[in-house]
């Protein structure tokens, strides 16, 4: 018996040793020209029209091309798949396409593909998830093998932004044949990277497209292979980066980023993103119509008190870190129309308490703050509110569940964030929340009309003025408490030459090994 046990034991030890040391983890990096990256969220589909995730945008920029391209440095619109474009009138955009651009399967991209793709996206019957970015298109017509006309329903100032930010062009012959579902598993585009392997929700392998068209403003890809993993836990990502299992991660919390920056083989670049955090309050008393007894937020002074109570600067500086800035206007500062000329509620707990007393709450009140991400930020906000007497119970929910509750008129007070889908225009944020949508808790017709005016005018001056007035009113009425901008810490191996941009879309096709 003893011998038997010894054999078994030896066997186990031998197996463990073999497993641990022979099948050592695949090391990342420069040596095998493979860039190992990780994202937190898994993509439901690789079809850009059927996912709304940030990761979907990142993926799309690598595998597909759009008609236009916005220079991330100058914010200029440049032709990408288009050779040139011009506005025929307010409602007609004429686009001439490049010749000789090839899809990954070797077929040439022509007007047929553009007409097909954009008409597909614009047709509500197809139920694309990114409708907001294509529903302004009335129709796209073919003018020649390399020429199309895009007809608009109404004048739409953000058209160029949406053509460059969303709406990638797909190969008609393939997409029409396999449909969105199959396409989502094996997409084909014209972009700088080709999809080599897809394990849904787990791993995507991209390889360099050697035939990428030479004069693309995106430039030519350098790195041979990109392995894209889904790792939901940030600390797992950080651990993998530290041990060489990954070459690039982002959205690293500032504390870890600081520690990582001190490590010899890792570089950290903090980049601002277009996402802002804000508190929304039920100023219109929507919840009262849905059975709630009282709503302190209908009182202007209470809303102002909330604005004064939260220490935006401290949260931005200590918790969000990096380049995070406090915001006072209900939009991201770089966005078109985002005026900073609004009432600024600087941190002032004494004034907050005074306003609360004037509003009839000398001892504060109890409420519930809902949130869906950044529990630590939310916890800090709750702490600040408690200091002036607003005892908020924090309830974190999944985004979808919170949204349901909000739309059902059951939420008076919530900590939310909005990334504007990286669209550099106020219409992507303020107009999205103050035009009497289900989740508009302000329901202010003045604000709505001003925003609508801005959304539909073509003249930038008129738009700017309309948005300015709307944002000033939002701040004066304290419908929101805009809080701070988000920062994404890009952490990567020192071997990598990588530049992040404020639109929070990493461009690996520009990255190279040092």
């Amino acid at each position: 018996m003893r011998k038997g046990w010894r054999k078994v034991l030896m066997g186990v030890v031998a197996t463990v040793i073999t497993v641990v040391f022979v099948a050592a983890p695949v090391q990342a990096g420069k040596k095998d020209d493979t860039l190992n990256i990780a994202f937190t969220k898994e993509l439901e589909t690789l079809d850009r029209y059927f996912n709304t995730a940030r990761e979907g945008i990142v993926f799309a920029r690598h595998v597909f091309d759009n008609l236009l391209w916005r220079d991330p440095k100058t914010f200029e619109y440049k032709p990408l798949l288009a050779k040139s474009y011009r506005w025929v009138d307010n409602l007609t955009l004429e686009v001439t396409l490049r010749k000789g651009v090839k899809f990954h399967d070797g077929t040439e991209m022509t007007a047929d593909d553009v007409v097909y793709t954009l008409n597909f996206a614009a047709n509500p019957a197809n139920k694309v998830k990114t409708q907001r970015y294509s529903n302004w298109i009335k129709k796209v017509v073919k003018e020649g093998p390399y020429k199309v006309k895009i007809l608009l329903k109404t004048p739409f100032p953000a058209a160029l932004e949406f053509l460059s930010g969303a709406n990638p062009i797909y190969p008609k012959h393939y997409y029409a044949k396999v449909g969105p579902k199959k396409f989502g598993l094996k997409p084909i585009g014209t972009g700088p990277y080709k999809v080599a392997e897809v394990e849904p929700g787990k791993r995507i392998v991209l390889v360099k497209n050697p035939d990428y068209f030479k004069d693309s403003p995106k430039g030519q890809p350098h790195i041979g292979k990109i392995v894209w993993r889904t790792l939901p836990e940030k600390n797992t990502q950080v651990a993998e980066l530290m041990t060489g299992g990954l070459d690039w991660i982002w959205m690293v919390p500032p504390d870890q980023a600081k520690k990582l920056a001190a490590m010899p083989n890792i570089k950290v670049i903090a980049a601002e993103t277009m996402r802002i955090g804000y508190l929304t309050m039920d100023a219109a008393g929507v919840t009262l119509k849905h059975g709630m007894k009282n709503d302190p937020f209908t009182k202007l002074k209470v809303r102002q008190a909330v604005n004064y109570a939260v220490n935006r600067e401290a949260i931005a500086k200590n918790l969000v870190g990096g380049q995070s800035k406090p915001v006072y206007s209900a939009c991201f500062p770089s966005q078109f129309g985002c005026t900073q000329d609004v009432v600024k509620y600087e941190y002032n707990p004494a004034k907050a308490r005074k306003l609360l007393a004037e509003a009839g709450y000398p001892d504060g009140f109890t409420t519930t703050l809902y949130g869906y991400r950044n529990r630590d930020f939310a916890a800090a906000i709750v702490g600040d509110l408690a200091a002036v007497g607003i005892k908020a119970k924090l309830v974190m929910m999944k985004y979808s569940a919170l949204r349901e509750k909000l739309r059902g008129g059951k939420v008076q007070f919530a900590f939310l964030t909005w990334g504007s889908y990286s669209i550099n225009d106020v219409s992507a944020i303020t107009s999205n929340f103050f035009e009497f949508q289900e989740d508009d808790l302000a329901r202010d017709p003045v604000v709505r009309d001003l925003l609508l005016k801005g959304d539909t005018s073509i003249d930038p001056k008129v738009r700017k003025e309309a948005y300015r007035k709307a944002l000033q009113r939002i701040a004066a009425q304290a419908y929101w408490a805009p809080l701070f901008t988000y920062v994404s810490n890009n952490c990567f191996t020192k071997d990598l030459d990588f530049t992040p941009y404020p639109d929070a879309v990493p461009r690996f096709y520009q990255a190279r090994w040092k």
Partner: protein, 305 residues
Amino acid sequence: MLQYTLKRLVVTFFVILVVSLVSFMLIRVSGDPAIALAGEGATQQEIEYVRHHYGFDRPLIIQYVDWAKKALQGDLGESPYFNEPVLKMIRERIGVTMTLGVSALLFALFVSIPLGVLASIRPNTWIDRVALTISVMGQAMPSFWFGLIMIIFFGVTLRWLPISGSGSPAHYVMPTIALGYYATPAFMRLIRSGMLEVLSSDHIRTARAKGLRWGKILYKHALRNAIIPVVALAAVQLGFMLGGSIVIESVFALHGIGYLAWVSIGRSDLPVVQAIILLLSMIYVVLTFLGDLLNAFLDPRIRVR
């Protein structure tokens, strides 16, 4: 024996039926799937459309019957999030979970059998106490915490083992230990008490009196008898471990069905959650069924019940 088997089979079938009903109701009553499906930025009309399209506006019981009918034909529906058949998604991931579950079970047995035997040979000595300590600690240690500590120590500090994923056998070492350790105490106690009972029995004394070698007695007579209930327990524990893998898989980013369940809960992908609960229940029920049969086969007294 046949009658017993048939009886248990009928019970097993009803358990599965009721479990599926209970899990279906629990999930449906707790949240509105239509909002989740419609996604970020959906309008009320779109949500209503989804609700109608997927039939969420029908009475719950009808939805259940519909779902159960399809499930019986092997159609567990489609994940609205991935637009893929749920069955296919589970098939792609069950291997990871099974590998983890089975290796955790083997780990637990490899640790608990020698320890249990040693403890039973020398009861109330330091060996026994060490074994007891290991077992008691295993039951009190939160497995996710143990996993995190191992990641820090073996993964990051020593860099011996990979931290996340399932690319190679090495990736399974830490999750296996974290998951398996929790089950070790149960096995060890069972083996120890079983061994003690057998060792004090007459036929062992007779064997010793006959002058057989002690090792042979232990192995051939005692352990063989003591291991019988362990086999049945192993079946049950495997079921529990597969259910508990949700925590461990999320700690080590193993893309198995536990992890799939967790992320699916996060995005309210209800057909997937339902299917996984059903599947895990079925595995558990089938394993208990087999364990009971085995017990009944080995111990005829049970059959009479």
